[in-house]
Symmetry: C2
Subunit: 453 residues, 2 copies
C-alpha cells in the first residue's frame, strides 16, 4: 500500500505550519484593525451554488462529491468543494438579509481546484479574502488598499507596489482604439496575459482573434508605446491620467473611471500610504470576468507573480438573490507570501514554539519532573517533558533537533541539592540555578515573540 498524501496536496509538518500560523496571525490582526470580522463557511457547497460562476474552465476544475446512501444514482454528485471564497460570500450575503450593511468580513480558508499539479501550484491552497458588501463608496477601495499596505509592511516587505486600474477605463481605451464592444472581453483576456507572454505575445494573440491592423496599431500605441515612458517613471500618474483622458475624449464611463482613480490616489495619501507604493497601471486587466470598477494587484520587486489582488464586483451577489448588492474585495496569497518571506529570510520565527525541554531522568524523578514542568508552565512558558526515562544525551539531542532553545535538567544530583541545571541547547552553555530562581530566569532569557498584539 502506497502511504502518501493525495497528489497536489501538502502536509504542513510543524516547521512549515509554524510560519504559516505566524503569517495568518499577522493577517488577522491587521484585517481586524480595519474593522473586518471573521466568517466561516462549509468546505463544500451545493453544486448549484457553484454552477455557472467560474466559466467552463473553472467548472471542470471542481472537486465533486458523490451522493451518499440509497437515494443517489451511481456517479451522481450533489456537492462540490469550494473553488474560492468569493462565491460563498455572495451566497451568504444573499441567504442572510439581516447582516449589517455594509457587511465587512474576512475568511482565511483552503479552496480546492483540480488543476494539473505543478511546482508551486496545488490542488488545495489557502485564500485570505477581505471583502465589503453593500457599499458603492470609493472609501471601500481606499480602506482595502490602506490595509494591503499595512499587511505587506507589517510582514517586513520593503519593495512592493500596489498597482491600480479600473475596468471601465480599460473598456474606454478599448473603445477608443476602435475595437467593438463585443470583442472587449476577449481583448481583456489577452491583455491579462501581458505578464506572461509580453507585449508581442498579446498583439499576436489579438491578431489571431481577428482584430484589424488599425485596431491593433491603435491599442498598441495607446497602451504600450506612449505608456512605456509613464510606466518607467514613478510619480507621474497625474500626467498619465491627462494623457489617457485626451484619448478617451468624451466617453462618460472612461472619464468617471479616471475620477474614481484620482480620488483613490488622493485618499490613499491621507490614509498614510506612501505615494511611491501605488502605481496606476492601465494595462492591468485581471482575469476574472466579474469585476466592474477599480481593480488592483500587489507585486513585489523580484517576483513575477502578484502576491495579492482584487477589485470591485457589483453584480455577483445579484446572481443569487436577484437583489443587487455592490461589493469589493482583496485576496492575499498565503503560499506566495510565505515563499517570498522564506526567500528573503524575513520569517522571524523559530522552528518550534516550545521554549524549554524538561528531561526525564528515571522513574525516581518522575514526580519532581512533573512539578518542575507545572511550575514553568504556570509562568506561561511552553514546556515539553521528554516522556521516556533514560539517557540524558538522547533527550538533549531530541531537544536540539526540534530547535528547543533551553533544557531545564533536574537529575538525582540536582534534585538532592535543590537546584536545576539550565542548558542552552544551541551553544551548550550551562548555568546552575536554585529551584526557586529557575522560572524567572527561563522567562527572562526567551527571545522576544514576533508581535501578535
Amino acid at each position: 500500500m502506497k502511504v502518501s498524501n493525495p497528489k497536489g496536496t501538502q502536509d504542513f509538518l510543524p516547521a512549515a505550519a509554524i510560519p504559516r500560523r505566524y503569517v495568518v496571525d499577522t493577517l488577522v490582526r491587521i484585517f481586524e484593525r480595519f474593522g473586518f470580522e471573521p466568517l466561516e463557511t462549509p468546505a463544500f457547497e451545493n453544486l448549484e451554488t457553484l454552477h455557472g460562476k467560474y466559466g467552463e474552465e473553472g467548472e471542470r476544475l471542481l472537486f465533486k462529491i458523490l451522493k451518499r446512501g440509497e437515494g443517489g444514482k451511481a456517479g451522481e454528485a450533489d456537492l462540490a468543494l469550494r473553488y474560492d471564497l468569493t462565491v460563498p460570500l455572495a451566497r451568504v450575503v444573499a441567504q442572510y438579509p439581516d447582516l449589517p450593511r455594509p457587511f465587512k468580513r474576512y475568511q482565511i480558508a483552503p479552496v480546492w481546484r483540480a488543476e494539473k499539479p505543478q511546482r508551486g501550484r496545488y490542488r488545495e491552497f489557502w485564500q485570505c479574502d477581505v471583502d465589503v458588501a453593500g457599499s458603492t463608496s470609493g472609501m471601500v477601495e481606499i480602506e482595502l488598499l490602506a490595509m494591503a499596505n499595512e499587511v505587506y509592511s507589517s510582514l517586513g516587505f520593503e519593495q512592493f507596489v500596489i498597482e491600480i486600474n479600473h475596468r471601465q477605463l480599460l473598456t474606454g481605451l478599448i473603445l477608443a482604439a476602435g475595437i467593438p464592444a463585443e470583442q472587449e472581453v476577449s481583448t481583456l483576456i489577452s491583455l491579462d496575459k501581458l505578464d506572461k507572454i509580453g507585449r508581442d505575445g498579446v498583439v499576436a494573440e489579438l491578431q489571431g482573434k481577428g482584430l484589424s491592423s488599425d485596431q491593433l496599431q491603435a491599442l498598441d500605441t495607446l497602451l504600450f508605446d506612449q505608456l512605456d515612458a509613464f510606466m518607467r517613471a514613478r510619480g507621474l500618474d497625474e500626467a498619465l491620467m491627462g494623457h489617457l483622458a485626451s484619448h478617451l475624449g468624451d466617453q462618460p464611463g472612461g472619464r468617471k473611471a479616471l475620477d474614481d482613480l484620482r480620488a483613490l490616489l488622493t485618499g490613499l495619501e491621507h490614509a498614510g500610504v506612501p505615494r511611491d507604493r501605488v502605481r496606476l497601471t492601465p494595462t492591468l486587466a485581471r482575469g476574472l470576468g466579474y469585476y466592474t470598477g477599480p481593480i488592483f494587484e500587489v507585486t513585489l520587486a523580484n517576483f513575477a507573480s502578484s502576491v495579492g489582488g482584487g477589485g470591485r464586483y457589483d453584480n455577483l451577489v445579484g446572481m443569487f438573490s436577484g437583489r443587487q448588492v455592490p461589493a469589493c474585495g482583496i485576496s492575499f496569497g498565503l503560499d506566495r507570501i510565505l515563499l517570498m518571506l522564506q526567500e528573503e529570510n524575513r520569517l522571524p520565527v523559530l522552528a518550534t514554539r516550545t521554549q524549554v525541554l524538561v528531561p526525564f531522568y528515571s522513574e525516581a524523578e518522575r514526580d519532581a519532573t512533573l512539578q518542575l514542568a507545572a511550575d514553568l508552565r504556570a509562568a506561561g512558558l511552553r514546556v515539553d517533558v521528554y516522556p521516556e526515562p533514560g539517557r540524558l544525551g538522547t533527550q538533549l539531542q531530541y531537544g536540539s533537533a526540534r530547535g528547543i532553545p533551553f533544557a531545564a535538567i533536574q537529575g538525582p544530583d540536582e534534585l538532592a541539592r535543590g537546584v536545576v541545571m539550565v542548558r542552552n541547547l544551541a551553544n551548550r552553555a550551562q548555568l546552575e540555578l536554585t529551584r526557586k530562581d529557575v522560572v524567572a530566569h527561563l522567562k527572562a532569557v526567551q527571545p522576544e515573540e514576533p508581535s501578535r498584539s
Copy 2:
C-alpha cells in the same frame, strides 16, 4: 434557485465565529504550553488511506470525491474527505520516518461524516486533537490529562471530571465474568452505550447477543452492583482498585492495567491536577476498537455527553507502515465546548472584535476621516470606517447593531475646532476631546481582552 448552505453544515457568521476563535486560541495556547506543535494535513485523503479504518458503519459515512478528467470512469471515486484526524496522523507518522520521536502534534480542523443531520450533529464539525506518537511511557497519559485539566480550567469550567479506565482492565473484568475472549469486543460495544441506554439496556442487549445468565449475573454484579457504591463516593479509587484486583485474580493484563492507572493517578497529583477532578470509572468503554491501554473521557456536570476523550492506541500506525509506533491522544469537542460555554454564560467575548467606529460625515471630511482612522489604528486599535457619507444617526445605529463600543465623531464642527466627540454607543454618553488626546483616551477605555498570552 435555493440559496442555502448544504444540509448538515453551518455558516459561522461573525457573532458565532468570534467565540469559536476565542476557544481555538485558548486551546492552541495550552497545547503549545505542553510542548505540542501544529500539524496541517489535506482535507481529503486517498480513499485507500481511509479504507478499512472505521468499520463498515464508518466506511458508509465517508464523503467520496469523484475522479476528475477523462481517465475516471463515471461514478468512480479515488479520494474522500477525512473522517477524523487520527488516521491522517497515523499516515503522516508512517510517511515521514524522520519526524522527531516522540512526535507531539496538535491539529484543529474540520472533519466530515455523512450522518443523518440532527440537532447538534453536523456533517462538518471541528476536531481538536492532541497526540504523542512514539512512546509507551505512562508520562504521556499524565501530560495529556494534565493538559486537559488546564484546558477546561482556563475556559472557566468549574465542575468537570476526567474519567479514566483501561482497555486491559475491561478485558480482565470481562474474562473474570466468564465471558469468552471472542465475545469481548461485542460486550465492549454494548457497555459503551451505558450513558445512553442505562444499565438495564446494556444487560438486555448483552442477553440478545447470547450471553448466558451466569455471565450476565457476574458482569452485572462486578461492574454495576458493587461499583455503584464506589462510583457515588469520590476519592475512593484506592479501595475500588483493591476491589477490582480481588476479582481479577492473577490475570497479568488486568493487574498491569491497575498498576498503570495507579501511576496515572499519582502522576496527575504531582502535575498539579486536583484529586477530585479525576475519577476511575471501570464501566468507561469508548466505542472505537483501536484503543489498547488507558482510555479517558471528560464530562461536565449537567451535560449528558462527554466534551473530550481519548486513549492509547499502540497498533494503528502499524497498519500503514508495518512498523509499530505506539501512540496516545486526546480530542476536544469544539462544538460541545462552545455550547456549554454559551449555556453557562462563560464566553468572555464581545459580539464584534471592532473597538471604534469612525463615521463619515460628508466628502468634505473624507481626508480627515481617513487620517483619524489611521492614527487610531497606528495605536493598535481596531477601527471601522463607515464607508458611505450620510446621516450620522444611520451610521451610529450600524455601530450599535454590530456591538462596537465607541464612535469617534469628527464632523465639520468638530473638525473646525480641532476636537473629536467620543460617544459610548451602549449608553450614549459623549465626551469631547482634543484631536491630540483622543487616541490615548480610546485605548484606555477599551475593556480588557480575554487572555491570549
